[in-house]
Each structure stands twice: as C-alpha cells, then as structure tokens.
C-alpha cells in the first residue's frame, strides 16, 4: 500500500465508489461529494493529489480549484479534472487554470491510475530535490571556510554531508588571549529536520559563546548554559545533541575540553593511539547534568582527531561497526601521511564493507609538529 493520499471529489455516488475502490487499491483515498466537503477534508489533511469533477452541487470544480490556489498551503496540490464536459471550450478553460490533467468521461480507469502515479511521482521528485538543495545549503553554512593557522601546528578539517544525513556541526573562534574554541557536535535525528536544528543550534552556541567569553573561557561553563537552553527552549524542545567543546592554547600545547556524550577524541602518537576518555551526559536530557573540564597536552608529533558518528558507525568488511578502536587504528596509519584526513578516510574505506561512507562524515585533525 502506497502511503500517498488521493482525494476524490465526485457527486455521482456510483462513480465515486468506483474511483474510491480502484484508486484505493494503490493509495490512501478519501472521497468528497462536492467542493465544499473537499475543502473541509483538505483542511484536516492535505492530500498528495486531487481528482475532481467539474459540475457538482454547492461548489463546483472550478470554484474548488480557485479556493485551493488562493491558500498558500494548498496552492501546489496536484489537481486533475475528471469531467463529462468534453467540449473544447471547457477543456481550454480547465487547462488554463494550471491543472495537471483534464480527463473526460467516459474514462479508462487504468489511464487515470497511470496519470495519478506519474503526477505524484514527479511532485515527489521535485520535493526530494528541493529538500536536498536546502539540506546542502544548511550543511554548507554549518561548516567553516577557513581553519586556524598557528606555527608548529596543522589544523585540518573535512566534512562530507549526505543529503539524508544528520545534523553534524563544526565551528571555531579565536579568543582574545590567543587560544581557540572549537565546537564539534551532532544533532540526533536524520534528514532536513536534524540539519535545520543543527543550524539553529549552532547559531545559538555561537551567540552563547560570544556573550559569555567576557566572563569565562571554560568549556564546561559554556556547556551548562547550552544544556539549559536546549531543555528550556520551546523550539528546540525535542532536540538532543552531543557536543564537544575544546579550548586549544597553542602556546602551551594544551587542550581543555568538555564532552557532552560526543564521540571521544583520539590522540594519535608515534607510540599508538589513545582515547581522550572522560565525557559527560549528552545534551538536552537532564537539566541537572554536571559538566566537567578536563585538560591534556598534545605531545610533539602527535595529532588530535575529533569526529562524528559517521566514522565509528561505518561498517567494516566483517559486518561490525568500526567503533572507536577501528577509527583509532586508521588514525594511527594516517599520522605520518602528508594528508592525514585523506589517508584516514582511505584507510577506513579499504576496510569498509561499502565503497562509500553511509552517513555524514566530519573529521577535525590537529597535529603538532615533531621536535
């Protein structure tokens, strides 16, 4: 059964039932006796397509179409006239109103069905394309165009959003004391909604950081504020996010971080990789959550890798997820490479079941030069 819905508007009960029965085999169908009733139905739930007679009591097909087109919410619902008015003048009048088809009675039900399918499919394609475009636009805005430049370090970033992916976000800002604050996060959920929330959420984080930096540079203090916002804010009420805030002081080779349930960073050194293991609860769940700052030093020749769950949830040839250990293994292989992130991803894809990453991927690589 197709989940798309079709509204039939026909005053003749026999014909109405026939259409209801035949089209109902393929679509979720409702049937109205005239234009007025059709408008009531549309008010409660907009169908994916309307098939309407022209001559009907109370409100005819032309009046119905006009009423639908006047309302922004219903103006684009695909519309087919199914009518006994087979004269050219009526056909011309019908087609001039911008409908999708004009079918005259007696009609071939299979032809009607074929047209319904074509029209619904085409409007779905447009919708999907539009969503993809909006999604890409959001994704672009969620990612930085430049990276910090500091002597003795390389700061690299890569992201590859999927159209149906989630809401990954990354941002950085330089503070007045010469340190940097990095934001890496993932809004739970998939698709356009997650991307939209990621977008609003990132704007909020930016302004929170901006407003609070005068009084604190503590990632944990910022995190507490962001958590309180996620829980109180009406729009973001159902939003949960993992977030990693990192303050990097290049002069001291030091990173202070607070991790709210995000993928744990990996510190890759010549002697192997280790997980930066402390983390707190994910955001948006509990107003009482305590967040703690932790700090570590980046040794010479080591690199810090931060990422989102597209990496660790990627599936290996053996059918298991990479997990932290799997990502760490590829990260170790990438340490000496001229393009570490590229190497990391290539190494992972070599071990993956698929030739591509299944989800959004995002990687931030901060490498300190060897002495």
């Amino acid at each position: 059964m197709n989940e798309h819905s079709v509204l039939i508007v026909e005053d003749n009960p026999t014909l109405r039932r026939l259409l209801e029965y035949r089209i109902g085999k393929h679509y979720d169908v409702r049937a109205a006796e005239h234009g007025e009733e059709a408008l009531e139905f549309v008010e409660t739930r907009a169908p994916d397509l309307i098939i309407s007679d022209i001559m009907m009591p109370k409100m005819d097909g032309f009046a119905l179409l006009k009423a639908l087109r006047r309302n922004e919410r219903t103006a684009t619902i695909p519309f087919i006239f199914l009518t006994a008015k087979s004269d050219e003048a009526s056909r011309a009048k019908g087609l001039s109103t911008g409908i999708d088809d004009y079918i005259t009675k007696p009609f071939d039900i299979d032809y009607v069905l074929a047209r319904v399918e074509q029209i619904i499919q085409r409007s779905q394609v447009y919708q999907t394309k539009l969503n993809a475009r909006i999604g890409r636009d959001f994704s672009d805005r969620l990612m930085p165009k430049t990276m910090p430049r500091e002597e003795g370090y390389r700061a690299l970033f890569f992201s590859q959003p999927k159209e149906d992916g989630g809401g990954d976000l990354f941002d950085w800002v330089q503070l007045t004391d010469g340190s940097y604050l990095f934001t890496i996060g993932d809004i739970m959920g998939k698709g356009l909604q997650a991307k939209f929330y990621a977008f609003s959420f990132l704007s909020y984080i930016r302004s929170t950081i901006h407003a609070m930096l005068g009084s604190t540079v503590s990632p944990a203090t910022l995190m507490r504020r962001v958590n309180a916002m996620l829980i109180q804010d009406q729009v973001l009420e159902e939003t949960f996010a993992s977030l990693l805030l990192l303050r990097w002081e290049p002069a001291r080779d030091r990173v202070t971080y607070c991790n709210a349930g995000h993928c744990r960073p990996i510190l890759v050194g010549l002697q192997g990789a280790g997980i930066i293991d402390y983390s707190d609860l994910i955001l948006g769940l509990d107003p009482q959550t305590e967040f703690t700052d932790k700090a570590f030093t980046i040794p010479p020749g080591s690199a810090l890798l931060c990422y989102t769950d597209g990496l660790n949830e990627q599936v290996t040839k053996s059918g298991q997820q990479f997990g932290e250990a799997g990502v760490a293994l590829s990260a170790s292989e990438a340490l000496q490479a001229p393009q570490p992130i590229k190497m990391l991803l290539e190494s992972m894809l070599e071990r993956s079941a698929d030739a591509h990453f299944a989800d959004d991927i995002l990687a931030f690589w901060l490498q300190r030069d060897a002495d």
Binding site: M188, E238, G261, R264, I282, L285, E313, Q321
Partner: protein, 129 residues
C-alpha cells in the same frame, strides 16, 4: 516495525524493542509510547535482547519518552541490553540516566519495589503484608 508493547500493570509497560530501533520505526515507537503514557503508563521497561541497531534517531525517541515521563514521576529502564545498544549507551553516557537490569523480570521487580512506584500509583498500600 519490530517492537511490541505489553502492559504489565496499569502503570508499567514492557517494550520488546526487537531487532532495530532507528529512523525507520522511531516515529511509530514514539506514537505508541505516547499512547500508553496517555493511558496512564508511567514505567517503561525497554527490553533490548537481540537488538542489533539503535541509531541516533532511535535513541532520540527514548530520550523524548524520558523527558516526558520525568516531570510526572515516571521512569524508563533498560533490560537485557545487547552489545550494540551498550556501545551507544556508553558513548552518549546515558547509562547515567537509564538504569540497567540483566532481565525484564529484574527490572520489573525493581520498579515494583521502588518507593517511587508506590507513590506514583497513589493508592498503593504502604508497608509489607
């Protein structure tokens, strides 16, 4: 849709999550749980035995349920947590919020005995017989 929800008492429901809770069935899961909440369920035991996939959308609807129940004195607990689910729970540190039990029965017993459960049912007798 792989989950099933079974009412164990007027206030407790056991949800057998099944093979997967992800972006495909998360909306159904949410709607079903909400229906039970409206009908008076305050305690949900989520049985994760055999659950291979719990993605972020799936985890999100469990969080929604938690957010919805906490203010009204309800609880969400986990039972028979499978390895893949354990990984997600570890990563998001949500074991701090959701109590875990080895079996549905153990979870059920703990909820039955918990003083919070007694308070929430209001008319429940105090003390032991």
């Amino acid at each position: 849709m792989s989950f099933t929800i079974q009412k164990a008492t007027p206030t407790t429901a056991v949800v057998r999550v099944g093979k997967a809770l992800d972006f495909r069935n998360a909306a159904d899961f949410k709607a079903s749980c909400q229906e039970h909440t409206r009908a008076g369920t305050r305690y949900f035991v989520l049985d994760f035995s055999g659950t291979g996939i719990l993605d972020s959308t799936g985890l999100g609807v469990i969080f929604s349920l938690y957010r919805q129940l906490t203010p009204i004195g309800g609880q969400v607990v986990f039972a028979s947590v499978s390895r893949p689910v354990q990984v997600v729970v570890q990563l998001t540190r949500t074991y701090k919020v959701f109590r875990q039990f080895p079996t549905v029965e153990a979870a059920y017993d703990a909820l039955e005995r918990s003083p919070a459960a007694g308070r929430a049912t209001g008319a429940a007798p105090t003390g032991t017989a």
